[in-house]
Symmetry: C2
Subunit: 142 residues, 2 copies
Amino acid sequence: MSIDLDPPFPPRDLARLMIRAADAAKHAFADAVATEGLTAQQARVVFFLGEPRQMKDLADHLHCDASNVTGIADRLTRAGWVTRVPGQDRRVKLLTLTEEGAALRRRLGRAVMSGPFPTDRLAVDEQEQLGALLQRMLEPAT
Amino acid sequence: MSIDLDPPFPPRDLARLMIRAADAAKHAFADAVATEGLTAQQARVVFFLGEPRQMKDLADHLHCDASNVTGIADRLTRAGWVTRVPGQDRRVKLLTLTEEGAALRRRLGRAVMSGPFPTDRLAVDEQEQLGALLQRMLEPAT
DNA sequence: TATTGTTATACTCTATAACTATA
DNA sequence: TATAGTTATAGAGTATAACAATA
């Protein structure tokens, strides 16, 4: 069995699988939250707002530049789901769910919960294994 | 053990983990292929073009509307990495790598291979478990 | 000086709808 | 009639750079 020095691509099968799984998960999530008229990023923000959060923390959570958060927050504000509350440090604004936003968050939770998701194809014990592996993969650097 | 009727969100921890893992994987992939000046979607197309493919097959692979593939293919064409070859069925165009495109594909492979990736944090046997689970999750419906 | 958030800009990706050409 | 691909359009996300307010 020879080694192919010019291997078929993409190499690193795990990376390829992760990219495809990422795509599938994001699409399923986007479809679920679209039932409430939100995009995936908007929904991630709403879920993250279990408590008020700085704009900067949102950027960290979404792994995007801080300038993008302004626009996402603007759209959620326009829809009446969040407000900007000044922080003690007067540079800071705390993005906070309105009552409508909190109700929306509960509906979104049910939508994601009840909609189809790629992991549905795995047995329960496999789902647990997958969860444990992903958690270890994502846990803060030691 | 009581059921929480108004549970903390996001519920369905596995979905939440998948979304975060998806994000991490996509960012790592995007960073790796950015060294060659490509976006993640462009790189996915280049990797997919191990053999000539119909535009429609690209849309299926990327899980996006066919109209988007035109633009992505245009950008890759402008850069000199792909060409459109007419198929036997004259409605069809087969997107095909140029020689420069094939060379780029090899470089991209090495970039993704050698760059950091979230799965690096797992032990080798854990990576194998993860790969097996993702493969089962993604395999065509039976 | 450094940090938080915003604005301005330009580009990519995205879906929808209408279109051409083939089958 | 149906399919493959394109065009036009509009909206959302993205990074970069420059900026104001505050620390």
